[in-house]
């Protein structure tokens, strides 16, 4: 059975419907899957989340969550999903404990009833339970928000950009927690602008300008990248990039960490690149073959 089914969802904004937020999106998420919606700001991630959490009506198309229609049966959905919106959405003037208690009551449950589910997460912020939520650090706020979203043991969890603006350490911890929840059988739909987080999902959809560029397992997306990829570096990286882009064999080149990634049009282009690198020996130019990651795929899909 599928936890989430999206069929041809179209959503536009503006008086004349001139801004297309989502253009005919379709996908399915099987029960218990950790599904990542990867894309930059403005790709349509939040709009899609709001449609699935029954907060927005699509212009056309159908969507079902946990078997219920998002329009006709919105009340049933509201009873069984957990939602963490993009903005920090707890009450900053209430304490950690008060926030959690409040959300438990709103969802007709109590902390003790589902404590086993949130235990691993809540235990990390429990020492600060008398502290006001507004005084927590970014990482702790996320943990509290996640606890609040889980308090009623939802069958599907929607997390809209939970790691945006959070530092690398907290992000890592957050993903560890999601893995734990997945083991409890909860279907999780998570969105993120950070490409490096894609690898942590079971399946990802790359979203850009309201369109799905690709939808696959992280490995599947990477496997689809068929062009030869090389990493090149030397001193004077800016000039190096311009020179690489001028080469006949080069399809694309862009900075990537300490290297520039160079996409060749075909395998035979390797020779030209090697000659180029040798000619820049005085600039300490080096090249090495690299495996593409999600970001390489996203860039290539965006430019096509």
């Amino acid at each position: 059975m599928h936890s989430v089914i999206v069929e041809n969802i179209i959503k536009t904004y503006g008086k004349k419907k001139e801004v297309a937020a989502l253009s005919a999106i379709s996908f399915e998420i099987p029960k218990g899957e950790l599904f990542g919606l990867i894309g930059p700001d403005g790709a349509g991630k939040t709009t899609l989340f709001r449609i699935l959490t029954t907060l927005l009506l699509a212009d056309s198309g159908n969507a079902r969550v946990d078997g219920f229609d998002v329009v006709k049966e919105y009340k049933s959905i509201r009873k069984r999903v957990g939602y963490m919106p993009g903005k920090f959405s707890l009450y900053p003037d209430l304490t950690v404990e008060e926030n959690l208690n409040f959300f438990a009551t709103i969802f007709n449950t109590s902390i003790s009833e589902n404590y086993d589910l949130i235990k691993d997460i809540y235990i990390q912020i429990e020492p600060f339970k008398k502290r006001r939520a507004g005084k927590l650090s970014g990482g702790m706020k996320q943990k509290l928000a996640l606890s609040c979203a889980l308090i009623h043991r939802p069958s599907v969890l929607f997390l809209d950009e939970p790691t945006t603006g959070v530092d690398a350490v907290s992000r890592k911890e957050f993903w560890e927690m999601l893995k734990g929840l997945k083991q409890q059988g909860i279907t999780i739909l998570v969105s993120t602008p950070y490409m490096d987080e894609a690898g942590l999902c079971d399946k990802v959809a790359l979203l850009q300008n309201g369109k799905i560029l690709s939808i696959h397992t992280p490995q599947g997306i990477v496997d689809d990248f068929s062009d030869p990829l090389w990493a090149v570096k030397s001193t004077g990286m800016l000039h190096l990039l311009n020179d690489l882009l001028a080469l006949e064999a080069v399809k694309d080149a862009y900075p990537f960490g300490e290297f520039h990634h160079v996409v060749l049009k075909n395998e035979s282009g390797k020779k030209e690149l090697e000659q180029f690198v040798q000619s820049r020996a005085k600039d300490h130019a080096v090249m090495q073959a690299v495996k593409p990651d999600i970001e390489d795929c996203f860039i290539s899909l965006m430019k096509n």
Partner: protein, 248 residues
């Protein structure tokens, strides 16, 4: 790297009561350098940056920015720096040109200068047709690039960028860094914070703050060597995990 020192900090400290937000940090940034200023949430980055921008008085220590003292000459500092953050960039309800006019005006640029500069920026960004459009009608990536151009509109010696690329798509992010490189080549010093660890690699030197102190400061290559790490992300995680204090 040699050259003029445009930012110097010597045991710069900021306390809030018992809490030492920034704890005796010392560093120098050279002209034209791209200086990455990293740290976990709450490590004290923002506080340090505010002191350098002349927005907040240090509790103790010394610092100069563009040769001016952060205690006494903060007005002069403000004339000589540009600032851009993810949150506050441009006025959405003004057009592109109106925004540039406004910022040029704030820094006391002449009408002729503003006119020429506006034309050259729009040219450079291929936004000639969008000059009279409201900023809110532009895609996010363009806005960020535009915001950067506006931050260096008055040709400051130093520009402070606070997480300038948050949420931007990978292609635009690279175009943005391309602009940073160009600015750096033209002699502008870049002081940048980011959560993207691959962007740390683009910097000439990187400092990593943990619990208010600078725990590491070197070129990315050197840092990776010292910490025996494969990437800047590993370096960062190794250091940031040592943090004991909870961020506020």
């Amino acid at each position: 790297m040699t050259g003029d020192k445009v930012i110097t900090a010597d045991k710069l400290t900021k306390r809030y009561g018992d809490f030492v937000a920034v704890d005796h940090i010392s560093f120098e940034v050279h002209k034209g350098e791209i200086f990455g200023f990293l740290g976990a949430n709450g490590a004290g980055k923002t506080t340090a940056m505010r002191m350098l921008c002349g927005l907040s008085l240090p509790t103790s220590g010394k610092a100069t920015v563009a040769g001016f003292d952060v205690y006494r000459e903060n007005e002069k500092i403000k004339q000589n720096i540009g600032y851009m953050s993810q949150k506050f960039s441009l006025y959405e309800d003004l057009t592109v040109k109106e925004n540039m006019r406004f910022y040029g005006g704030i820094y006391g640029m002449s009408d002729a200068f503003i006119k020429n500069k506006t034309a050259s920026i729009l040219d450079q960004l291929h936004l000639q047709k969008e000059g009279n459009k409201l900023v809110k009608a532009l895609p996010l990536g363009w806005k960020q690039k535009l915001a950067f151009s506006v931050a260096i509109f008055h040709e400051p010696g130093i520009v402070f960028l606070d997480e300038p690329t948050g949420g931007v798509d990978p292609v635009t992010r690279r175009e943005f860094w391309n602009m940073i490189y160009q600015a750096s080549e033209s002699g502008i010093t870049i002081f940048v914070t980011t959560h993207y660890m691959d962007e740390a690699e683009y910097c000439n030197r990187v400092s990593i703050m943990v619990d208010g102190k600078i725990e590491a400061l070197d070129s990315p290559a050197q840092l990776k060597k010292i910490y025996e790490a494969g990437s800047m992300e590993d370096v960062f995680l190794q250091l940031a995990r040592k943090a004991v204090r909870a961020a506020d």
